[in-house]
């Protein structure tokens, strides 16, 4: 796959505070990348620099095959809290920004109609934006980001402020957008990223903590896990389990044991045997894989 953006050593400092510290990454053309991180990690600052709304303190942002002129032509951006001209109607606003992006009058109208349909706002096209709900504004925000068919669309926390239904709708919309362009969106919820994205970048305190494709990360970091719920506290047994070399990690919380093991087949057999031999009062027993959520928490907290 070709790369679309190469970022090298991107930093943003406000006086002594460092918001973004020496970030380097690439974004592949046609991919969907999630920028993950806890609140205050520097996600918004990074996106704003890529969108040209903030200038970096240092570092380089290179867009392939769009080195000429104003980069904003190729970029669509949705801020975390999109604000519109409340006195305009949805279709007026979309046509306005389309014309600002140098679409002809005819093209602007065509694109406006297409996007209102895509985001499901046809019925509200002539209503004043001032009367829109949060979910509708988010949809309109996505429409304005896509209006000039940008090569890269950046969405800052597109689902964080939405209710479960709105969230579902936006995720489905992103699936649709993925077919048309390259997407970079920030979120602090890993499951959103897992649902639509191919690649993730995890940042913490302005620094790159982990990056790669989801597939790769799963293969590399996902481990076999056996969870056993016992009656009582099971402390003695845990001590014994910890001593085995095929048990990589054990956590015990209120009788729920989570064992990370190296070889799931043999481990399962050994554990089940011990349960019988030692008459452990087991309530439940399950075999599975660690979720990326755990990896995410570990990376973010480290």
């Amino acid at each position: 796959m070709e790369k679309l953006i190469t970022v090298e050593g991107l930093s943003k400092r406000y006086g002594k505070d460092v918001a973004v510290d020496d970030l380097s990454f690439q974004i592949q053309k046609g991919s969907c990348t999630a920028l993950l991180g806890p609140n205050g990690a520097g996600k918004t600052t990074t996106l704003k620099m890529l969108a040209g709304l903030l200038s970096p303190s240092s570092g380089k942002i290179e867009f392939e095959e769009m080195s000429e002129g104003d980069l904003r032509k190729y970029i669509g951006y949705l801020p975390q809290y999109p604000v519109f001209y409340n006195w305009m109607s949805a279709s007026e606003f979309l046509t306005y920004v389309a014309r600002l992006a140098f679409l002809s009058k005819k093209e602007a109208v065509v694109r406006t109609n297409e996007l209102l349909e895509l985001v499901g706002l046809e019925d509200a096209r002539d209503r004043r934006i001032g009367n829109f709900s949060g979910g509708m504004k988010q949809r309109l925000g996505i429409a304005q980001a896509m209006i000039h068919s940008p090569k890269l669309v950046m969405l800052d926390e597109p689902v964080s402020a939405l209710d479960p239904v709105g969230r579902r709708d936006v995720i489905d919309m992103l699936e649709e957008l993925k077919k048309q362009t390259t997407i970079l969106f920030s979120t602090h919820v890993l499951s959103d990223a897992e649902e639509v994205c191919d690649d993730i970048l995890i940042i913490r305190g302005g620094k790159m903590a982990l990056s790669g494709s989801l597939q790769e990360l799963r293969e590399r970091y996902q481990k076999d896990v056996i969870t056993v719920q016992v009656k009582g506290d099971g402390g003695a047994w845990v001590k014994k389990l910890e001593s085995y070399d095929w048990v990589l990690d054990v956590t015990l919380e209120g009788g729920l044991m989570t064992l990370v093991v190296d070889e799931v087949e043999s481990a399962r057999e050994k554990i089940l045997r011990e349960i019988v031999d030692l008459s452990i009062p087991v309530v439940s027993f399950s075999v599975g894989q660690s979720s990326l959520e755990e990896l995410f928490m570990k990376v973010v907290r480290a």
Binding site: A51, G52, L53, L54, S55, D70, R72, K73, I75, G76, Y77, P79, Y81, P82, V83, F84, Y85, W87, M88, Y96, V97, R99, L100, A101, F102, K105, G141, Q144, H148
Partner: protein
């Protein structure tokens, strides 16, 4: 249609939707009517409303038409300037504060276009409103008070309108980098007051001052001729307007980073 026209048209649509295009001219027209009418009816008003002792004779000489026009300009210098400052204080700063600028400026919008389209629309509204007010004043003055050369009236009004353009540019300048609209209005008024005060307190030193335009305008109305150093004031003011506008663009660029 160029991007500049798109931005320019948006300003007009906005001013129509929030009724600025209605109330700003109306305020100026009201200011323009008020002075000649009250001057004309002042003796009657005093007679009917005043608690004057029986038999007292009121003799208030009717002012000349030129004087009435000068008084009208005086009204506009206070209320008119206040209205313009309040109307345009948020021209950029309120858009920045609300965050809508982020959506507009991620589109390939030229920043000089953005600033100048806003500036010109504000200038047109201010100047047209002012002329409507002055025409109303001229109409009632010539009807009620006495003749006034239309040429002198136009010269005086054009001169005064440059002062208003200058002040609107100051509003634009402050709004281009400040966040608080109220602060923009306050600083503009403070600046206008200080400049006018300095100009009248130290006339020798301040011959170049844009605030001198009000003196020139009054001189046109009363005597048909400008005061001394008219060309100097005119040149300096025009120059300052250009500088302020260019600085607005520059500060606006910097305020984004």
């Amino acid at each position: 249609m160029s991007q500049w026209m798109i931005l320019f048209r948006k300003e007009w649509l906005e001013m129509a939707r929030n009724y600025k295009l209605v109330w700003i001219p109306l305020v100026f027209i009201a200011l323009g009517i008020m002075q000649p009418v009250t001057s004309y009816f002042l003796p009657d008003i005093l007679k009917n409303a005043g608690d004057l002792p029986e038999g007292s004779v009121i003799e208030i000489p009717l002012p000349t038409s030129g004087e009435v026009m000068v008084q009208t300009l005086g009204q506009i210098s206070q209320l008119g300037v206040l209205v313009l400052a309040l109307a345009f204080m948020g021209i950029v700063s309120s858009e920045r504060k609300s965050g809508v600028l982020d959506l507009v400026l991620v589109k390939p919008v030229s920043l000089p276009h953005f600033v100048t389209s806003k500036w010109l629309s504000a200038v047109i509204v201010a100047v047209v409103s002012f002329f409507l007010g002055m025409l109303a004043a001229y109409y009632y003055t010539t009807r009620l008070i006495g003749e006034l050369s239309f040429g002198d009236f136009v010269r005086g009004s054009v001169t005064y309108s440059l002062w208003l353009v200058f002040l609107v540019t100051v509003v634009m300048f402050l709004s281009s980098f400040l966040m608080q609209s109220g602060l923009v209005a306050f600083l503009t008024l403070l600046f206008a007051i200080l400049l006018s005060a300095a100009t009248s307190l130290a006339p020798r030193w301040m011959e170049w001052s844009p605030a001198r335009l009000t003196t020139h305008a009054s001189a046109f109305m009363v005597s048909g001729e400008a005061a001394d150093k008219f060309i100097l004031t005119l040149t300096i003011t025009t120059f300052m307007i250009v500088i302020l506008l260019l600085s607005s663009i520059q500060l606006f660029k910097q305020s984004r980073t």
